[in-house]
């Protein structure tokens, strides 16, 4: 059973569209995250979500919004897609938000903007 699963694995869409990426974890974790890996392979945190508290990396445009229907899910919504949004997006989870808690990652969603 996959611990952290993301769908879809690949997403190709036009500039200006709105899209969502789903993430589910079956580990019973309290905290979930979204990361972006850009074309230079740098992995950057976008959001941390723990017990309905959202921490946003200040560099993330407000076109990106995470939505958590329940503790096991943290979906990523992106409005008005731009060329620079092309990247691999990783979802992750950890037991809690403690500094010593390792994060478990999904296999990523490759988003390509035409």
């Amino acid at each position: 059973d996959t611990a952290v699963s993301q769908t879809p694995k690949y997403l190709v869409t036009q500039m200006g569209n709105d899209k969502s990426i789903k993430c589910e974890q079956n580990l019973g974790h309290d905290t979930m995250y979204w990361y972006k890996q850009d074309s230079k392979k740098f992995l950057k945190i976008m959001f941390s979500y723990n017990n309905k508290e959202l921490i946003i990396n200040e560099t993330v445009p407000n076109r990106f919004s995470p939505k958590s229907p329940d503790k096991a899910h943290l979906n990523l919504h992106i409005n008005s897609l731009e060329l620079g949004d092309s990247a691999v997006y990783f979802c992750a989870s950890s037991q809690n938000a403690g500094a010593d808690q390792p994060q478990h990652f999904g296999d990523g969603t490759r988003l390509s903007i035409l």
Partner: protein, 111 residues
Amino acid sequence: DQQVKQNSPSLSVQEGRISILNCDYTNSMFDYFLWYKKYPAEGPTFLISISSIKDKNEDGRFTVFLNKSAKHLSLHIVPSQPGDSAVYFCATNNAGNMLTFGGGTRLMVKP
């Protein structure tokens, strides 16, 4: 400005020898340092971590060393195996356990 840097983009090592991956950071307030391994088309996998109050942590073939005065940590893999070939990221965490990653080092272990 990168807070966590891995200055070697790649490293090639012979099977059975030691692999040493290095990482430098800028903020002396970081609490925890972690290493993740990543295979192509997969997400990063947690490998080993170290608290800022320690200078060494060992787990099987993997040892992480922390030199706080130099703001430097390293990952030693002994002995290296072909299955260790992957991209290795060092990371530290901020508020909310949000990780800041280095740029990664691609390790190739030759049989």
